[in-house]
């Protein structure tokens, strides 16, 4: 009997060890690194330099705000584009539901970086699309899509759309269609049926989708680098450059913590509004 009680602990032990060593401990390591001073040549000393955080925020507040803005816009685009698709597949997909879902996921079999770079070539100033329109005189010669804010936002929305569609689809698919019929029997028109019956049921899916798109989009730097040029850098670009190019680790670690803190505050206020259990349940199932 004692043996059986131990079983779950034996089962979780390897994964726990891995997650503790390479996820939990490193967060602590990064915290410690963010409170050091020094440089690569002289080494870093643990001085509990809280000033790093003030430096980081003071220097990069613009990128921080831009990340939240772009992430927020991309999330809104994902809702606007993804909700109707999820709705239509769930209610009208019929026998082809899984085929539509597969079609939706198929583009994501191509590597994330390659997909984004492919957009850049596709939309280049004199490429297949813009070049053709310019030749036909439909667009002015100087017109450009690349290296603008909308290019970054649309790139982000493109790359993370399935994370919005799938959770919304999952809740709508489980919904009993008789509820809608019942609302019609009670003289609700299509708009009212949607607002009062379908929308409330689908909200947990939307909330999960928002978490799953807003967090990665606001921290992404691939889209900003590939599609945004030099004037649309996001906080991810700063973190990457500070770590890997400038080797300015204390500032890099501080700015990463600022990003984490902002996202955590967001998630917690979100969870408070919804109930923690529900957020985690939708998110991890």
């Amino acid at each position: 009997m004692r043996n059986r009680k131990l079983t779950p602990y034996v089962l979780v032990l390897p994964a726990w060890t891995w997650l503790a060593l390479f996820f939990v401990v490193p967060i602590g390591g990064m915290l410690s690194l963010s409170l050091t001073t020094g440089n690569v040549i002289t080494g870093f000393q643990q001085t509990f330099a809280v000033g790093n955080y003030a430096d980081a925020v003071g220097t990069y507040w613009e990128q921080i705000l831009r990340s939240l803005l772009y992430g927020g816009c991309a999330t809104l685009v994902c809702i606007a584009v993804g909700y109707p698709v999820a709705y239509w597949i769930a209610f009208r997909g019929g026998a082809y539901k899984s085929t539509y879902l597969l079609l939706l996921l198929l583009p994501f079999f191509v590597s994330f970086v390659l997909r984004t770079i492919s957009w850049r070539f596709f939309l280049s100033d004199n490429g297949v699309v813009l070049g053709t329109f310019k030749d036909l005189g439909l667009l002015p010669d100087g017109f450009a899509v690349l290296n603008t804010a909308p290019a970054v936002v649309l790139g982000l929305a493109y790359n993370f759309l399935p994370f919005m569609v799938l959770p919304i689809y999952a809740v709508l698919e489980r919904m009993d269609p008789h509820l809608v019929e019942a609302s019609h029997d009670l003289y609700a028109n299509r708009v009212r049926a949607f607002v009062h019956v379908v929308l409330p049921v689908s909200l947990p899916g939307v909330f999960a989708g928002v978490l799953m798109t807003f967090i990665p989009t606001s921290a992404d730097y691939v889209n900003a680098s590939v599609l945004g040029g030099t004037h649309n850098t996001m906080i991810g670009n700063v973190i990457q450059t500070q770590y890997l190019v400038n080797n300015n680790y204390p500032i890099a670690a501080s700015i990463t913590f600022v990003l984490m803190g902002l996202l955590l505050v967001g998630i917690f206020s979100y969870a408070r509004a919804l109930g923690t259990e529900r957020v985690m349940e939708v998110h991890t199932s």
Partner: protein, 279 residues
């Protein structure tokens, strides 16, 4: 759902029509869904078409003429081959290690109540929702402080770390639906815990284990952000493409992208056909 379509259509209903189905207005939802799909496939189509292009200069962005040259010379870049090899082997290692660890974890979460279960769920939730930049930066910070040289194995470690929770969730979802009476029956027939696991539980879990493993493979081979932080001098396919953007991407990248897409497509089609057979 037919009720939603009823309003207003009654006046024009013709008796000769079969009841129910035939009256339909334009299904805007269908058009919309196809438009979104077109958006999703646009860069992929571009990639595939331009893998056959014969570009004039360094930039493969306007159509010049058809050629199979890049397919014939798909493996002309030794660095690219090496990067591809690294990507595949790292993904396979990740699949196996994360597959085993995640399966055990998922089994424990789905089947047993134990102290620390909530905490485990919380850590998994955090590991899944933390942005990749944070995961990569945290690992690199720790490797730096411990003077660990980053490279191939640190990449494997990182990939297993972020894939394990995905496998666990996939397996847990399956464990919850299993009927425990089958295992009880096995025990009644004299099977020990290990035999029961091997002959009864594992075969029933197998589809979920495979799905989780493939998910880990896909996540690993596609990963760019975490990998840049922890891979040191080692190149992977996404990293190589990224580096090549500065000097102009050779059309071979389109070829490899197209081949990978074709493999994915084939697997997906086989999966759908197999599912149809079973149904």
């Amino acid at each position: 759902m037919s009720a939603a379509l009823d309003t207003g259509d009654r006046a024009q209903a013709v008796p000769a029509r079969p009841p129910g189905r035939a009256r339909r207005r334009t299904d805007w939802g269908r058009w919309y869904t196809w438009a979104v799909l077109a958006w999703l496939f646009a860069p992929i189509a571009f990639m595939v078409v331009f893998s056959f292009n014969d570009p004039a200069g360094r930039h493969n962005i306007t159509w010049q003429g058809f050629t199979l040259h890049w397919y014939a010379n798909a493996f002309a870049y030794p660095d690219l081959n090496e990067a591809m090899f690294n990507s595949v082997t790292i993904a396979l290692l990740t699949m196996v290690v994360a597959g085993v660890l995640g399966t055990l974890l998922g089994l424990a979460l789905g089947r047993f109540g134990f102290r620390g279960k909530q905490l485990t769920n919380l850590v998994m939730f955090a590991a899944i929702s933390a942005p990749e930049v944070v995961l990569g930066a945290a690992l690199l910070s720790t490797f730096l402080m411990l003077n660990v040289t980053t490279g191939y194995w640190t990449t494997v470690v990182a990939h297993v770390m972020f894939c394990v929770s995905f496998v666990a969730i996939t397996v847990r979802a399956r464990v919850i639906t299993l009927d425990p009476s089958l295992e009880e029956a096995a025990r009644d027939l004299g099977a020990g815990p290990w035999t029961t696991f091997r002959l009864v539980t594992l075969p029933m879990l197998f589809p979920a284990v495979m799905a989780g493993g493939l998910l880990a493979f896909a996540l690993s081979i596609d990963d760019y952000i975490i990998t840049t932080f922890v891979s040191g001098d080692v190149n992977t396919f996404p990293l190589w493409i990224w580096g090549a953007t500065r000097v102009g991407i050779p059309p071979q990248v389109n070829v490899m992208g197209t081949l990978l897409f074709a493999v994915g497509l084939t697997m997906a089609v086989i999966n759908v056909v197999a599912a149809r057979r079973r149904a």
